[in-house]
Symmetry: C2
Subunit: 241 residues, 2 copies
């Protein structure tokens, strides 16, 4: 089973180029994942009843172009596989003309809300019928290594925290993107973003946002958000024109 | 003429209490204003054709309760009056049962996009038929004075900037709210917020967020966001339980 979810790009979602922000595109992707899991009977609401929740582990987004203000996008999503610890949910993003403008692969773990430890996904085997026999549309999210480079301090505030009491998944992306020159963002026509979520940051936590230096080519960036030696979130992004 | 606009509170809109964030409630209010002006033929899109735009001058929001995740809210909005420089747009916010849970008064000026100076709203007189003979539902936004108190530095980043190239109206609210103890926010059942928008902050601008000390009563706060001696945005909020 699969589903299609439609969203309109609102004025609050866009940047000065009048295209959707990368982090907001990510929010819409997470919303589609959430809506589809709800419809299939294993969304966060259902899981909470048995004291469990989904945790995003890795995410890859490729966008050929960023949709503009007032555009409607359709996100088609399906679950292609699950192992004991991780399940893979895929998406394609289309514009009103039906053209595919983006594709996504997400990997999720299920955690126990008391212990914060992973649960065995075999418990979901009864939902096996929700699997769709269609491969991920792009390469799966890469493992991103640690990086060294310029470090900026950041202290987590209330507006960063989501309903789980942790930093929202797309806040890390905002912090990373905010370190880039605005011209880089304005001139980017397409991108691929690989994110690894490693630990959950909390309110008041003092982090450093590290932007790696090792990327020699233009338009490639590498990030690591850490508290001391512990990485919360790592990502790399490649932008094209 | 008036219109009703419906929005669903999504997971990305809520905080750890699973109720909509104050700043996100503000975004939905601005979206309703934008949608209604569009429908009446004098939205930002129409104004841009003659090189003008709306600028939010003052805003008052009273909420009796904050809607929760998955709730649908209806925002009913009407324009009650306009003078030469300022027009007043009002709103009531209802939940799915039809109960009124909030009310809003917004005041807008029209500016010339080249000079950034106000335009005479008499030019809109042909739209006089869009006025509704119904008083604002709550007291109009108060004038908020300067304040002295604890100051926190803040430098404007890319994610703060909206499609006009300036800090988004609700970003100031986020920064103010983020200075408050999270327990204050979690325990608030209702609030009134008065905001004055005075100058537009830009990317890279170095601001201070001042939280005033003079409020003796619990649950009352006073803010002033400044660059040097110039106030960008002032607000006061009163929270109740």
């Amino acid at each position: 089973m699969a589903g299609t979810y439609s969203y309109k790009i609102e004025p609050r979602d866009i940047d000065v180029t009048r295209r959707v922000r990368v982090s907001t595109m990510g929010e819409l992707i997470l919303q589609a994942a959430n809506d589809d899991a709800d419809n299939l009977g294993f969304g966060v609401r259902d899981l909470n009843l048995s004291n469990a929740s989904w945790v995003l582990s890795r995410l890859a987004i490729e966008m050929r172009r960023l949709p503009q203000r007032h555009e409607q996008i359709d996100i088609y999503t399906w679950v292609s596989d699950y192992g004991r610890l991780v399940t893979t949910r895929n998406m394609t993003v289309s514009d009103a003309s039906g053209a595919e403008i983006g594709a996504v692969v997400t990997q999720w773990a299920m955690i126990d809300l008391e212990t914060r430890r992973p649960r065995d996904l075999s418990a979901l085997s009864s939902k096996g019928t929700s699997l769709v026999d269609r491969e991920p549309p792009i390469e799966r999210p890469a493992k991103v290594g640690s990086c060294s480079g310029e470090e900026r301090p950041y202290e987590v505030v209330y507006s960063d925290i989501d309903f789980n009491g942790h930093v929202g998944s797309m806040k890390y992306v905002e912090w990373m993107i905010d370190t880039l020159p605005v011209e880089t963002l304005s001139s980017a026509e397409n991108f691929r973003l690989d994110i690894n979520y490693l630990h959950e940051a909390k309110l008041g936590e003092k982090l450093v946002i590290c932007q790696g230096e090792e990327m020699a080519l233009r338009g490639r960036y590498h990030f690591d958000i850490r508290n001391g030696d512990i990485s919360m979130c790592r990502a790399k992004v490649e932008m094209g024109r």
